[in-house]
Structure formats: C-alpha cells, structure tokens
C-alpha cells in the first residue's frame, strides 16, 4: 500500500524560487500500456532550499530533473522559475539559471578539452559566445581559486585534458563548472553514484560547501539513504511518477532510516533503501 500524500512543506516568506505544477510526461508517444513517467507532480522550492529526491528506479526522479533542466517538453503542467514560466524555454536557454551535475562523469565535462577550457565554457553559460579569446591570465587565476578548495590539485593542472582525470576528479570539476556562472538552481542527478565511497564523500563535501558558499537552491536525486537523511532541509519521495512524501524543517532533521521505512510503509526492495 502506498503512502498517503503529505501536502505539508516548509513555507518561508515570499514566492517560491521553483514551482512545478501538475507536471505530466509519458514516453513512448502514448502507446497502449505506456505508464506515465510523471503523473501530476507538484513541487515548490523556496530560495535556499536543498531538497533531496529519493525513490525507486522508474519513480520519475530523473524525468523530473530532466524536465526542470529542459531536456524535453512536458505533456502537461508548468515550470516556473523566479516567477517566470519557463515550461517552453529550451534547455540551452535555461542553462543560464539552471545548471546540473550529471551522474555520468563522462557527460558533465568535455574530455578532449583542457580543465581551463571546460571552465571557460562554463563561465560563459547564459551569455553570448563572443569572438574573444576564451582564456587569459585573469581567468586562469580565477579558475585556480575556484579549484583550490577541492584539494585535488586540479588548480596546478589547468592545461591537462579532462580525459586524463579520474571519474571523481571529473565529477568535482563538473561541480565547479555548474556553479561557475552563479545559477539560481543547481540540479544534482545522483552525481556521486558512479564514484567509489571515499571519492563520493569528497565530491559530496565539495557540493555542500559550494551550495553554502554561493547560497544556492539545490535539488538532488540520490539512491543513497544516508545521503538523503543527512543532506539538505527537504526530503521528497517519489513513486510511480508522483510525489508521495515531502517533508522539511524539524521533521526532516529528526528523520531516521527506520522512520522512513516504518512510518511510510515503504517497500524496501523497490525503494533500494538498503544502499
């Protein structure tokens, strides 16, 4: 039996930064038997929120992130960012406000380009690409300052092709690239899932730091239960294309894995909570 929809969510002052309303998406062109990936999703993020999305495979987490990023148009519903309806704005035009770190370290960076070239590309996100040299001394200094807190030594390897970096290093670079242009919203799509536990921890710590430093609003998908409980001020649980649970504030901070399983009768097999 599925959990009841819990409408309660933290309400700060002012309008939400991100408002998703009635979002629906079915893949497969409406063929008989096609199940909706998103079946009426409502979600509002206040400025400064760090929301973590969990759910089983096929629950619609990635589809939700992809539709917020603009990878495809939803069948129904609206997406509003800072009061502006962006439902029909193509992904490459949303990139100035919404950035993302992908699960696959190979997707988030351009392998054949150097670290500094990747950062230069990210820095111009949301702005026209001019006929001016992409790199100069001042920019390189900025990039070194951005990379240094990672403590991975990338600041000394600006001219190294990204193809020569490890998956963790690429993911950390991808994170720095995502915050280079000071986005309004940061999307994290299981961005530590492909990494070994120690590297995942480094990238997660770096994530928390940049989110705090830049005062970002973030939406993170994870399969990692501990991450879901320890991270952020909001917990959103999806199942079968709907949001089944959305808690925040003190309720979120008091939450334990056992609570989640017991209180909401989650089928642990389907939820992959054992991770």
């Amino acid at each position: 039996m599925a959990a009841e929809v819990i409408p309660e969510r933290p309400q700060g002052g002012g309008p939400p930064l991100l408002a998703v309303q009635g979002l629906r998406k079915t893949f497969g062109g409406g063929l008989p038997g096609a199940r909706p990936a998103l079946d009426g999703v409502d979600l509002a993020l206040m400025p400064g929120d760090f929301a973590v999305v969990i759910g089983s495979n096929g629950a619609g987490k990635s589809t939700l992130l992809n539709s917020i990023a603009g990878a495809f148009a939803p069948d129904a519903g609206t997406i509003t960012l800072a009061g502006r309806n962006i439902t029909r704005v193509p992904g490459h035009r949303r990139a100035g406000w919404i950035t993302r770190v992908f699960q696959d370290p190979m997707i988030g960076t351009a392998a054949a380009m150097t670290i500094e070239e990747n950062l230069a590309l990210a820095e111009r996100r949301g702005q026209p690409r001019r006929l001016r040299l992409a790199l100069d001394r001042a920019r390189r200094d900025t990039y070194r300052d951005r990379l240094r807190p990672l403590a991975l030594g990338l600041e000394d390897r600006l001219t190294t092709p990204v193809a020569l970096l490890s998956g963790g290093q690429r993911q950390a670079l991808s994170l720095i690239m995502a915050v280079m242009s000071r986005p309004a919203l940061l999307l994290l799509d299981e961005h530590t899932a492909a990494l070994d536990p120690r590297t995942a921890e480094i990238v997660m710590q770096a994530t928390l730091r940049v989110v705090q430093d830049h005062g970002l609003t973030a939406l993170m998908v994870t399969h990692n239960m501990r991450q879901a409980i320890e991270t952020g001020n909001r917990l959103v649980m999806m199942d079968a294309g709907r949001i089944r649970l959305d808690i925040g504030g003190s309720e979120k901070s008091a939450l334990t894995a056992a609570d989640l399983v017991e209180k909401f009768r989650i089928d642990t097999d389907r939820m992959l909570l054992g991770h």
Binding site: H92, A95, T109, R125, R129, L133
Partner: protein
C-alpha cells in the same frame, strides 16, 4: 630515369595545386573532426564555388567579389546540409548526399552548360599580378600566404569563446545544451564555414585553370579524406594546432603521391579506385588490429 624526372619536374606545380586543395581538405576536416559530423557536402560545394565564381566573372563581376560570393554560396550549401540533418533528423551522410546531388542541377543552372572557359576573362590572379599565371613560384607564394592566413584565422577562432562552443558541440553534444550552447547554431556555423572554404577552393581552382566544369567535384571527398588521414598520420591531431596543420600537410603529400602514381603510368581513371582502397585501409586497419570493429561509423572515432 625519365619517369622520375617527369615527377620531379612536376613537384612545384603539384605543390601549388595542393595548396588550393588544402582549403577543401580543411572544409572536410572541420565537420569530420571538430563537429563529429561526417559531412559529404564539399563534393558539391567545391564545384558550386567554381561555377558561381566562373558565372559571375563571365557576367562582368569583379573577381574578388565573385570569389566572395562563391564562398557565401558554399556557406549556404553547408547550412542546408546542417538544417536537413537537424530539422528532419536525417542521417548526416544522407543529408550531405541530398545537398550535393541537388547542387549538380544548381551548378548546371548557374553556368548554363556543363563547362565554361575563362581563358580571356578576368581573375583574382590577373588583378593581383598577371605574372602569377605564368610562374609556379609566384603561385606557391600567393597560395601559401592564403593558406597561412586561413590557418592563423582558424587557430584564433578556435581559441575564442565562439570556437570553444563549436568544439564542445563535436566533443560532447550531451553536455553542450547544459552549458547554454545551442547545437543548431554551432552545427550551422561549423558546416557553413567548412563548405565556404571548400567553395573558396573551387573558386581558386577555376580561376587558375581557366575553366569550370560540372564534374570538377567528382571523387573530391575521398581525395580530401585521404589527404586528411595522411596529414593526421604525419603531424598527429593531439592539439588544435596539429589538427589544423594536418589538412594542409596531408594535401601537400597526397597530391605528390598522385603525381608520382601518374608519372609511373597509373591510369587517371584508376586513381579513384586506388584512393578509395587507400582510405579504406587507413580507416579500417586500426579496427582490424583491435580484432574487428563494432560496425559503427569509424569516422566518428
């Protein structure tokens, strides 16, 4: 040996010729290597440039203007291929075949017949100095300067914000949109620029040889690919500078090989078969050494 003497005597002429073809090979390299977009349009853009330039010069246009319009016609041809691929999601090879097939009719209309002579007409070379047409050394100088200007311009462009955007579309098309880079824009820019260069090469060739022919693009793409592969083998493609030098060096070497083959008695009509086999071997050998390919497009690699 008289055969070798004939070849040696031809080296400067062949070198001058290969510098003109370097523009076409560059026009092939840009889509294939920088955009990961196997583009066949140059097979039609090259004669288009030649035919447009010839027709306009015969109509009394200034040769420089005629050459510029030829460049523009090539840009349009490349953009047509890009649009067909992007809008109708047609395979890039098929899009290129459609465009160069259609361009055959266009070229025929532009010239009014299958070939036109420009012997008594004006040309950019006559405008610069009439001595060029009679001096291979001067031709090498003029074409050499043009090639160096092209190389410097492209090297600068690829280091700009715009050039980086173009490159990332070829390197990682999944990443590009999330960097705010529009795949359409930069595919259009890249294919336009590339086929503009091919058409520019066509305009130069026509003005130097003094005639334009509807069949002048036949097999050009394979010659260009062979040149590119040779150039990449010699100078490599690890850096942008090397990747840009490869088409020029490759064209210079390839056309000397062709000249040598013809001096040794190779029949001109057999040349395409030899070149095709050569391209097949160079592109196919790495897969054989790895123990067989996957059947996916090799040229993307």
């Amino acid at each position: 040996m008289p055969v070798i003497d004939a070849f040696l005597n031809l080296i400067p002429v062949t070198f001058a010729q290969s510098l003109m073809y370097a523009f076409v090979v560059m026009g092939i390299m840009i889509p294939f290597r920088l955009l990961s977009f196997p583009d066949l349009t140059s097979e039609g853009a090259f004669p288009l440039g030649g035919c447009v330039c010839a027709a306009l010069i015969l109509a009394g246009w200034n040769p420089f203007l005629a050459t510029a319009v030829a460049f523009g016609a090539g840009i349009a041809a490349g953009m047509a291929t890009a649009l067909i691929h992007l809008q109708f999601r047609l395979n890039s090879l098929l899009a290129g075949i459609l465009v160069f097939t259609a361009l055959y009719s266009v070229n025929m209309r532009v010239m009014g017949r299958s070939n036109v002579a420009l012997f008594s007409a004006d040309s950019v070379f006559l405008q610069i100095s009439p001595a060029i047409l009679g001096s291979v050394a001067l031709q090498i100088l003029v074409f050499g300067v043009l090639v160096v200007v092209m190389l410097l311009a492209l090297r600068w462009f690829l280091a700009t914000e715009a050039g980086a955007a173009l490159r990332v579309v070829g390197i990682n098309p999944d990443l590009a949109p999330s960097l705010g880079i529009n795949l359409w824009t930069w595919t259009l820019v890249g294919l336009g620029l590339a086929n503009g260069l091919s058409a520019f090469g066509g305009a130069l060739v026509v003005q130097l040889q003094g005639f334009a022919d509807i069949g002048m693009g036949m097999g050009l793409l394979i010659n260009g690919l062979a040149s590119l592969v040779i150039g990449e083998t010699v100078v490599g493609r690890q850096t942008i500078t090397r990747q840009l030098l490869a088409p020029v060096i490759g064209a210079a070497i390839y056309y000397q090989f062709v000249s040598l083959g013809l001096s040794l008695g190779l029949h001109p009509s057999d040349l395409k078969l030899v070149t095709a086999v050569f391209v097949l071997l160079t592109l196919g050998l790495p897969a054989l050494r790895r123990g067989g390919g996957t059947g996916r497009e090799k040229l993307h690699a």
